[in-house]
């Protein structure tokens, strides 16, 4: 298997390194206000009531889909087949790898163009193709940049959000050696047009194009992708073979329903009313069509998702991958997406990752949250992300995976918390000791057992005897 090995178990170390990476910190600072402000403006422009009403409609729509998932998937498959396309069911990431490789081999592919797809990241398609002598070329600008850098995406809609402009410039100078060294790469527009020029040529070389799908429509058998660069259209319409990679929960019943989702998607993701390109594709070229792919394949990935149905994690399957939760998450804003160590970062990743790779591997993620609730506040599908992270912590606690010190501390605290008399005596004694340590200064700068805190912060000490003791003395 050539999947990227998750570094999720090293989350703490990843975060430590992220906090010391000046380029990353500068990139994250640049991004945080942009996304937050744009979503807020888009919501205000539409009207908060209308926007929040759309969120309710989108939530209800997806709940209905999840309750009838098999029916809609079957209907979708029927429509795709009738249009001359092929639907392939992939139970695991490896299955998806094999299906994609098989199609590419049959097409005699040397190069595969890719519009951005997180499912192909989840399945490790690039590595698998490369290992089998087929060259994957990312056509989304962000994906292209990180492909040059040999990295994975750090965000689900802005894969290179962790890279600064000077770093991009440097990367282009290194990679595009056919261009004059003295060319002007000072502005964002010059960088963009250079990437376009380079990518334009690649569009015509590929035998196969792989795209993701923001939605699949049961009624029509269409797949829908949104992009701002048009790379999705070019990746899917120029090559002879088009492969759509999608996970099973991306289905919606009707064409009309897809517009409900689109109305919350763009606004939540980038603050746009709609993305610049929204493309509906319905199978291979027909006899009367002037262009389009000759073959049309859809790879439907499960990879653990049906196991989430009927559990406390089912609501996660409403996610439309807009990235609003990570854009607004103070933890994501502080450490960036790579710290999360797998395909899906931020709050949605903190719920989804343990579902897909196990709580043993992904247990850090649901713990790395302050439960501030901002993610749930902005989620267009009203997914109760903190509640589900808490459910993961419960699973972890039940399996006794919670670190020993935390379990012991919690047990000790609980023993006293359940015995008010003892608790009262214990807290009085403890606080008196802490006050003594503060020696009239009101705080300490080093405290045993709280080294993590006092390494960078003082610890305020109690300002007097406990409230309960003083209250009793007074009344």
């Amino acid at each position: 298997m050539t999947l990227h090995e998750p570094t999720t178990p090293q989350f703490k170390q990843n975060a430590h390194e992220a906090l010391r990476d000046e380029n990353l910190q500068s990139a994250l600072r640049g991004a945080r206000n942009g996304f937050v402000g744009k979503r807020a403006a888009a919501r205000a422009k539409l009207g908060e009531d209308e926007f929040d009403g759309l969120r309710d409609a989108a939530r209800d729509l997806k709940n209905h889909v999840l309750a009838n998932l098999a029916d809609y998937l079957e209907a979708y498959e029927g429509k795709v087949t009738a249009a001359g396309g092929h639907v392939h069911w992939a139970e695991t990431a490896e299955d998806a790898q094999n299906i994609v490789l098989d199609i590419c081999r049959k097409a005699g592919a040397k190069t595969v163009n890719k519009g951005k797809t997180m499912i192909s990241e989840e399945c490790g398609i690039n590595d698998h193709l490369a290992a089998n002598g087929i060259k994957p070329v990312e056509t989304d600008l962000g994906e292209y940049i990180i492909q040059l850098r040999g990295e994975t995406p750090s965000h689900i809609i802005a894969p290179a959000v962790h890279v600064t402009v000077p770093q991009v410039r440097e990367e282009f100078q290194k990679a595009h050696t056919h261009l004059p060294e003295s060319r002007d790469l000072s502005g964002l527009d010059t960088l963009l047009s250079e990437a376009r020029g380079v990518l334009r040529e690649k569009y015509f070389q590929a035998e196969v194009g792989i795209t993701g799908a923001n939605m699949l429509i049961a009624e029509t058998g269409q797949s829908v992708i949104v992009t701002n660069e048009g790379n999705g259209d070019l990746s899917q319409s120029l090559p002879r073979v088009h492969i759509v990679m999608a996970s099973i929960e991306k289905i919606v019943p009707t064409l009309e329903d897809s517009s409900t989702i689109l109305r919350v998607l763009g606004r939540s993701a980038t603050g746009q009313d709609m993305s610049v390109y929204t493309t509906y594709s319905s199978g291979p070229r027909r006899a009367e069509d002037p262009d389009g792919p000759e073959e049309y394949h859809v790879v439907l990935l499960d990879n653990g998702r049906t196991n989430m149905l009927g559990t406390e994690f089912e609501e996660m399957l409403r996610c439309i991958r807009c990235g609003a939760c990570m854009n607004h998450c103070p933890v994501y804003q502080t450490v960036g997406g790579h710290a999360y160590g797998w395909v899906y970062p931020g709050p949605m990743g903190a719920v989804l990752t343990p579902s897909l790779i196990g709580v043993e591997e992904g247990g850090h993620l649901p713990n790395a949250s302050t439960f501030c609730g901002r993610c749930e506040d902005v989620c267009p599908m009203r997914i109760p992300l903190p509640k589900m992270m808490r459910h993961w912590r419960e699973r972890e606690f039940e399996k006794k995976l919670t670190p020993g010190a935390a379990r012991y501390g919690l047990g000790l605290w609980a023993f006293f918390a359940k015995r008010p008399g003892l608790y009262r005596a214990g807290t009085r004694l403890g606080m008196a000791a802490l006050r003594l340590l503060g020696r009239g200064r009101g705080r300490v700068s080093s405290l045993p057992l709280a080294g993590g805190w006092t390494a960078t912060r003082d610890m305020p000490v109690p300002s007097g005897d406990t409230f309960m003791a003083q209250w009793k003395a007074k009344r």
Partner: protein, 248 residues
């Protein structure tokens, strides 16, 4: 006169008794009879958020038993009040859930109780100082506490200068600050820098967890901010040393 039970919260009880007395003063000034049930310890949030559902439920029952006999339960914390209001009904089943829901319906964060329930228009304190206010997450997003403390502060003559990202978490997060101290530190660093950048003398909030985190960071970095719980200002108790400050 409504009989109000004060849920003082474990952090206020241990670290900042002044906040308890300030809350009592505000409630009594507003015409309440205040009682402090003996059997209270903590709301159980540490267990609930650590995945120890059974312990959290046991503590919830203890709190319900001790507090359900009063007209209202008031806490100087959006976080602890939020646990009672939002989480207790989720922890328990059957008859206990009904009792949890009944308790939830009469439990309030203190500034929200004064303004939204009692209709208090202003406080007697006169604290003409320049302050900035951090919106603690549980109170803000869980209980809708945003305008209430600001309204009361204005009545005390305190001028607010709003900081950037006032609604973004300070990085305390209960056990989060212990489990991920480096990330927590970076978050509270952003918070105290934003607060100091306003030029305010006081940094106020409604939750002692956030306040201790912000005070500890501001002091280590020499930000020169007086960090206080909002009720201390509203009750006119600003002559006591600020959080983390020794006696002058």
């Amino acid at each position: 006169m409504p009989r109000v039970a004060l849920f003082v919260t474990c952090l206020v009880d241990m670290f900042r008794p002044t906040v308890g007395f300030a809350t009592v003063k505000l409630l009594e000034d507003a015409g309440c009879t205040v009682e402090v049930p003996e059997a209270q310890t903590c709301c159980g949030q540490p267990a609930w958020n650590s995945g120890d559902r059974a312990t959290a439920a046991e503590i919830a029952k203890q709190v319900i038993f001790a507090f359900e006999g009063y007209d209202y339960v008031v806490a100087p914390s959006g976080s602890c009040a939020g646990t009672i209001v939002k989480d207790y009904p989720q922890m328990l089943d059957g008859a206990w859930r009904k009792r949890a829901e009944a308790l939830a319906a009469k439990t309030h964060e203190v500034t929200s109780f004064l303004v939204d329930v009692l209709g208090v228009e202003g406080v007697e304190a006169d604290v003409p100082r320049l302050a900035t206010y951090h919106d603690s997450c549980s109170g803000l997003r869980g209980l809708g506490v945003k305008a209430q403390p600001r309204k009361l502060l204005a009545s005390a003559g305190t001028t607010l200068r709003e900081m950037e990202e006032a609604e973004v978490c300070c990085g305390f997060g209960g056990t989060f600050c212990v489990k991920y101290p480096e990330i927590s530190d970076s978050m509270v660093g952003d918070k105290t820098r934003n607060a100091a950048d306003t030029g305010a003398e006081m940094l106020l909030a409604g939750d002692l967890g956030c306040l201790m985190n912000m005070a500890g960071k501001a002091q280590r970095d020499g930000r020169g901010l007086e960090v206080r719980h909002v009720v201390e200002v509203l009750a006119g108790m600003t002559d006591t040393p600020a959080i983390g400050e020794g006696s002058k």
